[in-house]
């Protein structure tokens, strides 16, 4: 085996080992974020909504604190009250420790939304979105460059008929064309 092939194989293997964890993290969070952008779910938060009926009806200036507290007692949320305010004269917004309630002051209809953090996905998305910034940004840049090196080195791992000089080149072309078609379709034409 020639020297450069040995180096290429070594590079591909070692980068693959070092960044195995990062690739799993970015792969799973990539799927999560894909579906987040498509509006299918929120990967970082779990939100559960219930519709209730309250007796808090009337213009905001007539709503008393006791009414709000009494309603919270009926739904066993009185200990979770943080604050409340009136976004406009016909709405009430109540903040709870674990969510919020919006009340339509015309009908008394209340929407209770409970919010909690989604374990695992919150953590991996935190990294994929580069929220730590600073040092993490440089480490993830190194990872991204390593992915490019992995892709290039992978082209030359196999020789002969099944290598990049053989049928491999056509498979590579297909892999490049697919994203190009999407770009051209959505952005250029």
């Amino acid at each position: 085996m020639t020297r450069w092939r040995r180096i290429n194989r070594w590079l591909h293997r070692e980068l693959g080992y070092i960044f195995f964890g990062m690739t799993i993290i970015y792969g799973i969070s990539g799927i999560a974020l894909n579906h987040h952008v498509a509006g299918h779910w929120n990967p970082s938060l779990v939100m559960k909504t219930d519709t209730l009926q309250s007796d808090i009806v009337g213009a905001s200036e007539h709503v008393k604190q006791t009414q709000v507290k009494q309603f919270l007692e009926t739904i066993a949320e009185q200990k979770n009250l943080k604050h409340y305010y009136f976004p406009d004269s016909l709405s009430l917004y109540v903040y709870l420790d674990n969510g919020h309630i919006t009340v339509d002051l015309e009908s008394g209809e209340a929407t209770l939304t409970k919010v909690r953090k989604r374990p695992f996905f919150r953590e991996i998305n935190f990294l994929h979105y580069n929220k730590p910034k600073k040092v993490w940004m440089y480490f993830s840049d190194i990872y991204a460059l390593s992915m490019i090196l992995l892709a290039i080195s992978g082209l030359f791992l196999v020789r002969g008929r099944k290598g990049v000089a053989g049928r491999g080149v056509w498979v590579v072309m297909i892999g490049i064309l697919i994203p190009l078609v999407f770009i051209a379709w959505h952005l250029w034409f």
């Binding site: 070692e14 970082s44 305010y85 917004y93 903040y95 709870l96 440089y138 190194i142």
Partner: protein
């Protein structure tokens, strides 16, 4: 094993060498003055505070649930809200800040027309922002506070 360890060491060396120094890159220093201002005053004349370090306090009405990179605060009038964005010093705003009174310190920034238009285009493309929320106006405003610190009151 030896070469892998060297490769890993180089990765760590590069990332640690590029870490910003705590003293020289920090935006605040003992000589910087951070002025406490009322939210209403900012909204009356936002140009006056452009580029200045300020402190502002308010009730957190909404933390963006899609990334936690911004939130909105109001003082007493729910129609008067301001947008607070994260910075390098704050990775994200916790959803638990909603409903709390918080004091934020940071740089007040006024965006150019081009920047504002680009920001609003991004916001409009996000289907989960309906535009009916009480903070909708603040969301599209051409100014915000880039917070580098905050504390609950």
């Amino acid at each position: 094993m030896k070469t892998t360890s060297i490769l890993l060491f180089i990765c760590l060396l590069v990332t640690s060498c590029n870490q910003p120094s705590n003293k020289s890159d920090k935006k605040t220093s003992s000589s910087d003055v951070i002025t406490k201002v009322e939210l209403a005053d900012i909204l009356k004349k936002p140009d006056k505070f452009n580029g200045k370090q300020i402190k502002v306090q308010g009730l957190v009405t909404h933390v963006c649930k899609h990334g936690g990179q911004k939130l909105f605060i109001m003082s007493e009038d729910p129609d008067k809200q301001i947008r607070i964005n994260t910075s390098d010093d704050i990775p994200e705003f916790d959803i638990e800040l909603e409903g709390s009174t918080v004091e934020f310190s940071g740089y007040f920034k006024k965006l150019t027309d081009v920047e504002t238009e680009a920001m609003n285009q991004d916001t409009d493309e996000m289907h989960y922002h309906t535009g009916d929320e009480s903070h909708a106006e603040a969301e599209k405003a051409s100014y915000h506070l880039e917070a580098h610190d905050f504390k609950k009151i």
